[in-house]
Symmetry: C3
């Protein structure tokens, strides 16, 4: 591509870098001169900034629209995302899939940095090399990254730390809530990749929606609530070219949270999270997918859908 994923991402967030106050951001420099863009730890964040965060996460290959979704009595804003080229923009870039170390509370990197470093198993599945010397790292975290973490990331990218821009927002913030709730489609494709032998490269176009869950200060409860929004209120769809309708039918039926949650269905996600040692990496893939999934095969015209209408 003429404009690389990191170049496009940096262009998308440039209004925030130019005028942080306008977007509810706070900008600082790390010891190694990385640019830290706080969107929700001490900063208030903003709707417009959250949209930039999400579109930059996909290297510019997605569009976020704020719609409206009725959830019981609430008319909540929804994060409606259209996703182009998901192998590149999600598997190779946006997904929260690069664990920066080991252990229970390890920081996780997402966004264009993954397309540059290609240090996790998902980004390595995609043929892509990003020539940009400037790199965007995004982290869903309540703590600023350590200098060691930043050095580790810059090293994996082959760039100086000073060329790294880091956007951080905890689950318990507006930007955190928007960015997680925009992951309904990512959940589908990652769940397929982790949990089945389905050839995800047949997926050409995707979309997802979920209500933007109201924030709660406690980070664990906030994480639970935004995941509740996804697994009980989210909807993901994909258009694919696949030779075998039967296989699509099979994976569609197994994909939604509702189909796999068993006795966990109806539980708050914070409780589910606790069951699996508070680590997203331990949660079985079938429990990390939206309420409703649609798969449309462009070769045959068949459309498969699976959901559980009796939501709690």
């Amino acid at each position: 591509m003429t404009k690389s994923l990191n170049e496009a991402a940096m262009e998308i967030i440039s209004p925030i870098l130019d005028d942080p106050q306008r977007y509810g951001a706070l900008i600082s420099k790390s010891a190694g001169r990385a640019t830290i863009v706080d969107m929700g730890i001490e900063a208030d964040g903003s709707w417009l900034g959250a949209k930039m965060y999400v579109e930059a996460a996909h290297g510019g290959m997605a569009e976020l629209t704020y719609g409206r979704m009725r959830v019981k009595d609430l008319d909540l804003p929804s994060a409606d995302l259209m996703v182009d080229n998901p192998m590149l923009s999600v598997i190779g870039c946006e997904a929260g899939a690069w664990a920066l170390g080991e252990g229970e509370f390890v920081p996780v990197a997402s966004g264009p940095v993954r397309a540059k470093a290609r240090a996790d198993r998902w980004s390595q599945k995609v043929e892509y090399e990003d020539p940009s010397p400037y790199v965007l790292l995004q982290m869903q975290t309540a703590r600023f990254p350590s200098d060691e973490t930043l050095a580790f990331v810059a090293d994996a990218c082959g760039i100086p730390v000073a060329n790294l821009t880091v956007m951080v927002a905890p689950s318990a913030s507006l930007v955190g809530s928007v960015q997680v709730c925009s992951r309904a489609f990512e959940q589908c494709i990652i769940s397929l990749a982790r949990n089945t032998s389905f050839d995800i490269s047949t997926i050409l176009h995707g979309y997802g929606s979920a209500p933007v869950a109201p924030v709660i200060k406690d980070e664990v409860l906030a994480m639970g609530r935004i995941n509740d929004a996804l697994v009980y209120g989210g909807s993901g769809g994909m258009w694919l070219r696949h030779p075998d309708d039967e296989e699509i039918r099979r994976v569609t039926e197994g994909l939604p949270f509702s189909a796999q949650a068993g006795d966990d269905y109806g539980k708050g996600y914070a409780e589910i999270f606790a069951t699996y040692g508070h680590s997203l990496f331990n949660i079985p893939a079938p429990l990390d997918s939206p309420a409703k999934v649609m798969m449309a095969n462009m070769l045959t015209g068949s459309v498969f859908i699976h959901s559980r209408e009796d939501r709690p």
Copy 2:
């Protein structure tokens, strides 16, 4: 902020100034060389121009999306607004709160001009100084402003009249309908400010939706109809950091039109308007708020909602 509210607003409307015909606008100069941008008095207006009008009204700190809302048999476009930093963008800028004189049919100024002049009691509540020498005044009116009015406004801003850009659209126009119907959130926060002792500076993020009411030529009936859209079809939400859930509960219950209208509930707004001497300033605040209100406390995670489901 690097870019002031008036600077951002002028940038947003610059496509209209460059190519008025494309946006259904008519541009002229006042005697004092102010730039008059007619969006609906003699001009037809446009959807794209109306979006610019609304986003400029907030100094660029809001995004308008046209969605769809079903109202009985009608599938109407809706004005879905996301609002950042409401103390600054609404209380200090967008709200229609600066009466330019006295009496029943006094012209009212809204938009970035208020952040520059700081001549009304709401904008004075916000710490903000706009260095821009160019200022945008917006008026919901069927009559072009007089030279006296323009001189008065320029004087209050400390700028020459020639530096003033004035956008006008009557209630009975497309742009007028869109901009009023985008005020569902403004209604909430202004109603709280006028009617309660609630600390509105705890409100960090807002959103609102209402159907865009079909226009009718008569200005009073048009004004009534677009307010009907708000008070019977509008929905406003806000995310706040407030220490006292009980106080939020109390104001939420008192806030929606439905809760306060009493015997006026079900009446057309034109009739209500007449009751109060045809002046928006006389209408009690509780009658000037949307059908449904949601308040989410980010500190405690509590969500409060109040509405009257049995809409007429």
Copy 3:
């Protein structure tokens, strides 16, 4: 207008020309050096590219938003379009109304090229002259246009073939599906123009919505399916200034597909298409309009709506 329809369209699609891979496009040159932008024949297309396709089709005088629409069990993306100045942007520009030759499978030109060539009966109804030496031709087709066709078009525009940019996407593609499903309002105004003596120049503002139908590889079935989305799921609205409410009432009742389809109601569109010799030009206008139509008279405030709620 300062910026002509073709100039605006070329500006809108310039990101695709600069970085085709990012938008799922494939660019090539014809023998005569016209620029061919494939958005769906051999190319995959994209949501972001489809949005540019549609907005360019209207010379920049429309905005496409991707919303969500529930159709039975499916939560499909919807193409929600707001249309400014429909006489110019639709009748004079966007409509698929210029048959490039004769016969059953004749290629059809749409988009800004029509405003330049003014070679069909609809574009001739609009007073407009486009000075741009660069012209955008759009075609819903599964076959690349022949050199003869390109020469014919360039000649009709009075420009060299090398100044022609041609965007192509078949019905059986993402971009094809989005662009057809964005035509709910066009269907209304063209149906009025073809089928009644109604003065369409009284229509000042329009909007339309339809679900984006999942693609199927077969071109005829795909064409059928996307038209099903329009005639059974589409909704069009218009705001007009018309002296006679009675006439509006009459045409509104006759306009929607549901009102006119008779025994064809409930049939798939592919079947209807076959009945009329597989030519869109043979299909009676009343069968080419959305499920639901709303007309709002800005002079009188009357709102007329017609639909058939018992959709199959």
